[in-house]
């Protein structure tokens, strides 16, 4: 009998197998490109050039990546606690309200560097609150968190439509969005930084200070998960609830705290488009970033060092995808949605599909590197 969890060298476990999964996902995506009558290799070249070929392209890539770092971290933190937070989309969307209210209140009064920290708090608090209810229901009443967070995505969407159409829309305006913020709620762009390296960046390119906040959060998440007592408890719970019980860790507390952090991270995503680019709160500003977070977290193996590059990869797909749509009329940006789905499928649901083959390959190369697996449990 083949044991799906037999040991492999760490580099194969964390590097080779995810890479194989990713390559397969892209090969299948290439087949879709072929199906619509375009050349997948040319498409790949256009994609990469569009994303990294120019300063402006790079700025857009990193702008999109900012969103995905936040949502990817949100999903990852929950994963570490053994929870599947599928509600990043809704948490980010409703957190737009927190950001919006802060900006509308202070943009005439305070400079951006004072509005920003308050807005961060607003975004995190509202996002966390939106995650709190499903967390509470899971911890106390056993309601399946996957289903409740999905439901909360839809409830958030309805609530935001109501708020933007009926409450926050300025009088006389037709568009369902808040008024434009003035400088007090506009984050500085970071295009100049890329210019320092001799790249030309259009001033309208949306890369902004939130990117640094995202990197900071990636660092914080690493710190939290691997360097704090709370992170230790979260990981214990995620790996083995029984061991957590043994160690005196309260399941209720961990579920709620983990989801609060996860929701806060998802909520912070709202800062990037709202304060960094659009300078208003508009309908559907999240546009799927919450879901991309699932793919990013799965691909990055829930580690910030994997999530940041995975987010940049998806940023590249978004930005390059826009260029691609321009060059190849048969391909639109929705190509990314397919790739995202394929990555989730191969890196997530089918992550062990290629493992037996890799193991067989290793076993035939050098039998000693593949240890004999311990039988799971020693019950007779």
């Amino acid at each position: 009998m083949s044991n799906p969890y037999a040991k492999l060298p760490a580099w194969a476990d964390y590097g080779l197998i995810p890479l194989i999964n990713l390559i397969v996902a892209f090969i299948v995506a290439g087949l879709v490109v072929l199906l619509v009558g375009e050349n997948p290799f040319r498409a790949a070249v256009i994609l990469v050039e569009g994303a990294f070929g120019s300063g402006t392209g790079l700025a857009y890539t990193l702008y999109y990546a900012t969103n995905f770092i936040f949502t990817g971290l949100a999903v990852a933190v929950a994963f570490h606690g053994g929870l599947f937070n599928i509600g990043g989309e809704g948490q980010a969307y409703i957190a737009g309200l927190g950001v919006g209210v802060v900006c509308l209140a202070f943009d005439h009064v305070l400079p951006w560097w004072l509005t920003f920290p308050i807005a961060i708090l607003g975004a995190a608090a509202v996002g966390a609150l939106w995650a709190l209810i499903p967390a509470y229901l899971q911890a106390k009443r056993g309601s399946h968190i996957v289903i409740t967070t999905i439901m909360f995505n839809f409830i958030a969407a309805s609530a935001m439509v109501y708020m933007l159409v009926d409450v926050l829309k300025p009088r006389g305006s037709m568009a369902p969005q808040t008024r434009q913020f003035v400088e007090g709620a506009q984050l500085p762009k970071l295009g100049w930084f890329l210019s320092e390296f001799g790249l030309t960046v259009r001033p309208s390119a949306p890369l902004n200070l939130s990117f640094l906040l995202a990197l900071l959060m990636a660092f914080f998440v690493w710190l939290l998960i691997w360097r704090t007592r709370l992170g230790y408890e979260i990981r214990t719970m995620g790996f083995s609830p029984k061991a957590a019980r043994y160690a005196g860790i309260s399941e209720t507390r961990i579920i709620i705290v983990t989801m609060l952090i996860s929701g806060a991270l998802a909520g912070m995503m709202a800062l990037n488009p709202i304060m960094g680019d659009q300078h208003n709160v508009s309908l559907d500003f999240v546009s799927g970033a919450g879901f991309v977070g699932i793919a990013v977290a799965l691909m990055g193996r829930s580690h910030p060092a994997g999530i940041v590059p995975a987010a940049i990869l998806f940023g590249m797909l978004y930005q390059g995808g826009a260029e691609l749509a321009f060059e190849m009329p048969n391909i639109s940006r929705d190509m990314i949605v397919i790739i995202q789905g394929l990555v989730i499928l191969f890196a997530g649901a089918l992550e062990h599909m290629f493992r037996p083959w890799v193991q067989a390959a290793f076993a035939s190369l050098s039998p000693r590197t593949v240890g004999v697996a311990q039988p799971k449990g020693e019950r007779a």
């Binding site: 040991k7 360097r227 007592r229 790996f239 005196g248 004999v372 007779a380």
Partner: protein, 510 residues
């Protein structure tokens, strides 16, 4: 001699490096009740699973009714007239009795006629064997005894001539068990062949015609029940193993550290596992709890260490109560000096995905010496882990290695090092040497003795009788959730074996 219903010839079966069955030869005669006894892990269940088509033997031959057969799936077994009553019932809880009975044995694509046929067949079985059960009752609303009857009916409905029962009385009350035995005798009288797997010797003596004893994957003896004694069987079951003598001096029991009073614990199904148990453990002594697995020892230590809620009773730690019936917090108990080495180190005592040093603080991760504010003090934790690795000779001596990659013995040393180095006043240990190599066993035993000699109270639960005998200063025997006897360290194996098999208690009751 009657003709053979089943012949097993040279059956071998390994799981990885573990040889669960080796060269088993067994002949079971038609129309008899055969008992198969043995300790946990002796290979009884594996053998029966091979017979029922769950596993395939690595080598060997099976003959049913004299003809060589190949049993690859339960379907093959059913077709050969072999039925099995599993230890954990294979019933769909929210189905009715009749639905469960026809599942997989329906006559046709529509249920109507199948159900009608099953109903009349059930009536016949009821008449013939006195197996009464309401066909329209929902399984989850039936008591376990009746659920088991449904399992038997399932097998008979499929035309079983050979019926295997795996630990059938484990979940039954004595009255229910007696009823079961009457049914089995009746089935025998009708010409059915019955194989009864159990570790309870009283049952063997009460009902079987012949009995085979298994130990460490082999059949060590087969006896006619009428010509053997409980003592002989107990001895065969346990075997005369080389006793690992542990050097230890006289115990100097001090004050009572742990006092358990009238403790009652139920499992998740509501079955009473610990029934009104009282005892205490003094400083400077090791109290061993002997017993066959599943007689309530696990639940007992889980309740004492705050992992499982008790129904009633009190536990005093150093004279102060533990909230065993309420929200006892294992973390708080650690602070109060109660350390716990759990029976299941893979899923409870360790997080296998963690690095060694991370596991060396599990449960103590909130101690200030491992923390800098909210942060883990990684340097301190690793230095501490390295020190424990050296002291307990944990190999490989790499505190960054994933815990899953250590051997069983070294994993157990990681747990022990963690719990002992906190210098607790009371140590609760479950199965300290299960799956541990010989070298590590000796080391672990020495550590436990050293704890005792430092005046600590040690409560030891083990299914290894040798271990209990060589370590304990007092031995309590648990059977069926109760403490059925207390003996000194010089008690003989036979004496303890009888207590463990519940013989003495039954005789006393009768």
């Amino acid at each position: 001699m009657a003709e053979a219903a089943i012949e097993l010839i040279g059956i071998d079966k390994s799981f990885g490096t573990v040889r669960a069955n080796r060269d088993i030869n067994l002949v079971i005669e038609r129309g008899t009740i055969r008992g198969i006894v043995g300790e946990n892990g002796a290979g009884k269940s594996t053998l029966m699973s091979i017979l029922y088509g769950f596993y395939q033997a690595d080598s060997g031959e099976i003959k049913v009714g004299g003809k060589p057969v190949s049993i690859k799936t339960p379907n093959d077994a059913i077709a050969l007239g072999i039925g099995m009553v599993h230890q954990h019932f294979m019933l769909v809880q929210n189905f009715t009795v009749i639905e469960n009975i026809i599942l997989g044995a329906e006559d046709e694509a529509l249920l109507k006629r199948s159900i009608a046929n099953a109903r009349s067949e059930l009536e016949r079985l009821e008449r013939e064997y006195g197996l009464e059960v309401d066909p329209d009752a929902v399984i989850e609303e039936l008591p376990v005894g009746l659920q088991q009857r449904v399992e038997i009916l399932k097998a008979l409905y499929r035309g079983a001539e050979i019926l295997i029962l795996d630990e059938p009385t484990g979940v039954l009350t004595p009255a229910e068990a007696d009823h079961l035995f009457r049914i089995l005798k009746q089935l025998k009288d009708q010409g059915k062949t019955i194989v009864l797997i159990t570790h309870k010797l009283r049952e063997i003596m009460a009902i079987t015609d012949t009995v085979s004893v298994m130990r460490q994957g082999t059949v060590v003896a087969t006896r006619e029940t009428a010509k053997t004694t409980v003592e002989e069987l107990a001895e065969l079951m346990v075997g005369r193993r080389v006793l690992l003598r542990v050097e230890k001096g006289e115990a100097k029991p001090g004050e009572v550290k742990l006092a358990v009073d009238n403790l009652t614990v139920r499992d998740s199904r509501g079955v009473t596992m610990v029934d009104d148990v009282s005892f205490d453990v003094r400083g400077g002594e090791i109290v061993g709890i002997a017993g066959v697995a599943g007689n309530g020892q696990s639940e007992l230590i889980e309740a004492i260490s705050g992992i499982r809620k008790a129904v009633s009773g009190t536990v005093l730690l150093d004279g102060k109560p533990i909230e065993v019936t309420g929200q006892a917090d294992p973390g708080e108990l650690r602070d109060r000096g109660l350390a716990h080495v759990p029976e299941d180190r893979h899923y409870v005592g360790l997080v296998l995905a963690f690095e060694e040093n991370e596991n060396s603080i599990l449960g103590y991760h909130d101690k200030t010496e491992y923390l800098k504010g909210p942060f883990l003090d990684i340097d301190a934790i690793r230095a501490d882990a390295k020190q424990k690795i050296e002291k307990f000779d944990i190999r490989p001596a790499n505190d960054r290695l994933k815990t899953a990659n250590f051997s069983g013995g070294n994993q157990q040393k990681i747990v022990l090092a963690r719990e002992l180095e906190q210098n607790p006043g009371v140590l609760v240990v479950g199965q300290p040497t299960r799956g541990v190599d010989v070298g590590a066993i000796e080391f672990i035993h020495k550590q436990l003795i050293a704890m005792r000699d430092r005046g600590k109270a040690v409560l030891l639960v083990s299914v290894e009788l040798d271990e209990i005998r060589s370590l304990s200063d007092r031995i309590l025997v648990m059977f069926d959730g109760r403490i059925v006897g207390e003996r000194g360290p010089d008690a003989t194996e036979g004496e303890l074996g009888l207590l463990m098999a519940g013989v003495e208690r039954q005789e006393a009751a009768e």
